[in-house]
């Protein structure tokens, strides 16, 4: 298979549950790397802690499996010291936006050339199904037996407001978009955020009576639409998919190199 060369096959079958969306993200992310023909010795994957973060163990790139919420902090260090490497940072919604929320907004603001992937299953999968800042209201979790009253973040609005220069969203159902948006993000010379709605049938699906993995995927098909579509105008509840921003701004590592240059000349 085209993507076999990017896998550490000795760790398969992987630990994710049957039907977990995180595997679909891995599958189609590797196709992006393959289509761009990026040398795997020049790819670095940095992850934190969570089911989603286990992804870094399965890829035959340079990989760092770090601390919960701190993937972007470690990725920043890697990129500052080796700006020629391509750095990708897959995170869970809890990892990226609960414990890691502060790192996330500041990474967006700096505009360093990193690719952040948020694998958003709206729950803490690894620790047994506690609600996250992405669960939204009316959700049953182990920590909300009477359903959540907390409102959710909108990852897209948060990324845009914080200054990310490439921002996109899709779902585990829309596999071609996963590959295409990650390709765009990897090529973008600045901070990229790709949110991918990813099903957790084991905790989110089961507790919220959303059926099995296939039913959860069908829900992504029904509940989402392309940005600015007619369907969205008719039904504002639909979640938009697509590229929300793609623009260039001064990139942090380039600015830093420039600063060193200036200091050496003065």
């Amino acid at each position: 298979m085209a993507i076999d060369q990017y896998l550490r096959k000795r760790f398969f079958p992987h630990i994710w549950c049957a039907g977990c969306g995180h595997g679909i993200v891995l599958n189609n992310m590797l196709r992006a790397v393959d289509q761009l023909q990026i040398n795997q010795n020049e790819m670095v994957m940095v992850s934190g802690i969570g089911c989603s973060s286990r992804i870094s163990g399965y890829v035959d790139f340079h990989s760092l499996h770090t601390l919960h919420g701190r993937a972007l902090a470690f990725a920043t260090g890697v990129k500052m010291s080796q700006p020629n490497l391509t750095v990708i940072c897959p995170m869970g919604d809890g990892d990226a936006l609960a414990i890691g929320g502060n790192h996330f907004i500041h990474a967006c603001r700096r505009n360093m050339d990193l690719t952040a992937i948020v694998m958003n299953n709206r729950i803490y999968g690894m620790t047994g199904g506690q609600f996250s800042p992405l669960s939204g209201t009316g959700i049953t979790a182990t920590t909300s037996p009477q359903k959540t009253i907390d409102r959710e973040f909108d990852i897209i609005s948060l990324s845009l407001a914080s200054g990310a220069t490439f921002v996109a969203r899709t779902t585990a159902y829309h596999y071609k978009e996963i590959t295409n948006y990650i390709k765009e993000a990897l090529q973008h010379p600045g901070f990229s955020v790709v949110e991918i709605l990813s099903q957790c049938p084991t905790h989110f699906g089961r507790r919220n009576k959303q059926g099995d993995a296939t039913e959860m995927l069908q829900r992504y098909r029904q509940n989402t639409t392309s940005i600015g579509s007619e369907a969205k105008q008719k039904n504002p509840e639909l979640i938009e998919r697509g590229i929300f921003r793609q623009e260039t701004a001064p990139e942090y590592c380039a600015e830093y190199a420039e600063l060193i240059n200036r200091a050496q000349q003065s």
Binding site: P13, A213, L217
Partner: protein, 74 residues
């Protein structure tokens, strides 16, 4: 456009967890779960080579090999 001819469905039995995603999403009803809950190409001749199963498998267990690919790699 000519319909791509499928040479083989390579399914890694030990990687498949029997989630049924490929079975439900295949537009031609090609795949089934056997008694051990592993995906098998029960109606292989119906396959149109769209690769939905390959791309949607969370366990990276499926690879579709097309005739043309085989010829060009020869």
């Amino acid at each position: 456009m000519e319909k791509p001819k499928v040479k083989e469905h390579h399914i890694k039995r030990s990687w498949c967890k029997g989630c049924g995603i490929c079975v439900s999403l295949c537009p031609k009803g090609v795949l089934e779960l056997n008694e051990e809950h592993k995906a098998v190409p029960a109606n292989a001749s119906q396959c149109v080579g769209c690769r939905t199963c390959e791309r949607m498998c969370p366990d990276l267990a499926i690879a579709i090999e097309l005739e043309q690919e085989h010829e060009t790699t020869d």
